[in-house]
């Protein structure tokens, strides 16, 4: 579904991504793990068009993504749940969800989507008229996920949903993501620093270090790998 080939990108003269190749098949849950500054967020921003690549190709559903203007990419079915949540603080929870549903498919499926989102993330239903800026970090993260789901995406990209959250809240959010995936079969691409949890829930993983893919494989292979065990899993 999403095929990234030989992608390089960076800010001005400083390269952040070097010849990255990543594949996400339809229905897969792929995790990209790695330390801070490995280029994970830049990779997502390049997919969404906020960062311009210096080389390589991205195709989504057979479409050359780099030829599509950034705001149009959401309309192809890519939902980006950004790092640090980035909900719209002066809009209410409901209005944030409506913004998620700017796409044609989001508008068409609004009723059924909103019911499912409220079922998966009931706190959003309770707080539907609250301004998003006044919610806690965990609630904002759930709103950011709900906002992504409201577009009826083909691919949900999650950039560090556990960032800045208490461990128990982060666990809850992981649990919700697994449940959402189990019920909807949605294709997901997750970037995470919490390597153990990410590899546990995903079926395929990539390890990104200093802008290079240093390792890839299904979750058993990765979790069995010595380097991963030592560096990330603390075993």
């Amino acid at each position: 579904m999403l095929r990234i080939e030989g992608l390089s990108a960076g800010y001005s003269a400083k390269p952040v991504l070097n010849d990255i190749s990543i594949n996400v098949g339809a229905g897969q849950f792929v995790a990209i793990v790695g330390p801070n500054g490995a280029g994970k967020t830049t990779l997502f921003k390049t997919i969404s068009g906020i960062v311009k690549p210096s080389g390589g190709a991205i195709t989504f559903d057979g479409v050359d993504l780099l030829a599509v203007p950034p705001p149009q990419r959401a309309h192809l079915g890519i939902a980006h749940v950004p790092e640090g949540r980035q909900v719209f603080p002066s809009l209410t929870v409901m209005e944030n969800l409506e913004m998620g549903a700017m796409t044609e498919s989001g508008r068409r499926d609004w009723q059924s989507n909103i019911e499912r989102i409220f079922e998966w993330l009931p706190v959003l239903k309770e707080r539907r008229s609250q301004f998003a800026g006044t919610m806690s970090g965990g609630q904002q993260q759930m709103l950011a996920i709900g906002r992504g789901l409201a577009s009826s995406p083909k691919l949900l990209m999650l950039d560090e949903p556990s960032m800045g959250l208490a461990p128990s809240t982060a666990d809850f959010i992981f649990d919700r993501l697994i449940e959402i995936r189990r019920q909807s079969g949605l294709t997901m691409l997750l970037v995470e620093q919490r390597v153990a949890e990410a590899l546990e829930s995903a079926d395929h993983g990539y390890v990104l270090e200093a802008g290079h893919v240093v390792l890839e494989g299904n979750n058993d292979t990765l979790r069995a790998d010595d380097r991963v065990r030592k560096a990330y899993l603390g075993m």
Partner: protein, 311 residues
């Protein structure tokens, strides 16, 4: 007491129009974060557009002297909105929005120079095209009044033209609030203002949202300008006098708050009129800024401003 009530009424009447004028600028600043120094001159163009629509384009002969001016003023709004749309497309979009999001200072320096340049061109261009003779959109209503009262032997006189100006301003303000809070376009404008990057992730074309905001802001201020012109004569450099009031209103309301800008403008109208009770008329504007400084001293974020930086 009678003088106080009279000044209060006059302040409310002019305040509503100032409020509308400030909202036009507040919308542009709130959504785009662009400091538009040319906004007073867009308003001046709006005044002349209404003036020529009334006198030369046949509105006067069709609607008459009482209704005609207000029809022309309302028509000047869309005309200036289209003008603003193209100014944004041709000039402003090059130094704002997604093109400059990654630049240091987000292109603010270029915006300053560009909007100042546009202001100079409009002022001097206006001088060539319209001449330096004072113009005004007078109606028979401008020099007649409704009498409220008498209550306890006090009567308040409301200038008819100014009263209609206030009603038109309030209607425009209600329509704009509905647009901003209820419609899809309005919500996407607010989303683009809150966080342009996240708005792009939602599939909102931020540059198009900016263009919409700029066009709307120009149209709204043009209507406010036309309304002011029913009582105050104008000339090609009149924008300079108003742009300062506009910024004071936007800052008072809270930078970035669109509805706040209306209350900021209203406050300025009230202070301006009430100050005449205790100060000579020449000090009206000094009074505005004294109150402005006081409010900013005690409430630096303005009436409706948020203390937090936007993410």
């Amino acid at each position: 007491m009678e003088g106080f009530l009279q000044a209060l009424a006059a302040g409310l009447l002019i305040g509503a129009v100032y409020g509308l004028m400030c909202v036009g600028l507040g919308l542009i600043f709130g959504v785009m974060r662009v400091i538009n120094f040319a906004h007073g001159d867009f308003m001046m163009l709006g005044m002349y557009t209404a003036f020529y629509l009334f006198t030369a384009a046949g509105v006067q002969s069709f609607f008459g002297n009482a209704v005609g001016p207000f029809v022309s003023i309302l028509l000047a709004g869309p005309v200036l909105a289209v003008f603003g749309y193209f100014v944004h497309r041709a000039l402003i979009s090059h130094v704002s929005g997604t093109r400059t999001a990654s630049l240091e200072g987000e292109g603010h320096y270029a915006q300053l120079i560009l909007t100042l340049g546009i202001a100079l061109i409009l002022q001097n261009g206006g001088l060539i095209v319209f001449g330096s003779v004072l113009a005004s959109i007078r109606t028979p209503l401008s020099s007649s009044a409704w009498e409220l009262g008498p209550f306890f032997d006090m009567s308040i006189f409301l200038n008819k033209a100014r009263s209609i100006d206030m009603i038109v301003s309030l209607i425009m303000m209600i329509l704009l609030s509905l647009l901003i809070t209820r419609t899809r376009i309005g919500k996407s404008l607010r989303a683009a203002a809150d966080n342009p990057t996240a708005a792009t992730y939602m599939g909102i074309d931020v540059d198009r949202a900016h263009r919409t905001a700029f066009a709307l802001g120009c149209g709204i201020t043009a209507i406010a300008g036309g309304l002011l012109a029913t009582n105050y004569p104008f000339h090609p450099f009149v924008g300079l006098e108003y742009v300062i009031v506009m910024y004071a209103g936007v800052v008072l309301g809270g930078m970035g708050s669109i509805i706040g800008a209306f209350w900021g403008g209203m406050t300025i109208g009230l202070v301006q009129q009430m100050s005449t009770l205790i100060l000579p008329t020449q000090l009206q504007n000094a009074a505005i800024f004294a109150v402005f400084l006081l409010i900013i001293f005690f409430r630096p974020q303005g009436f409706f401003g948020r203390m937090v930086e936007r993410t």
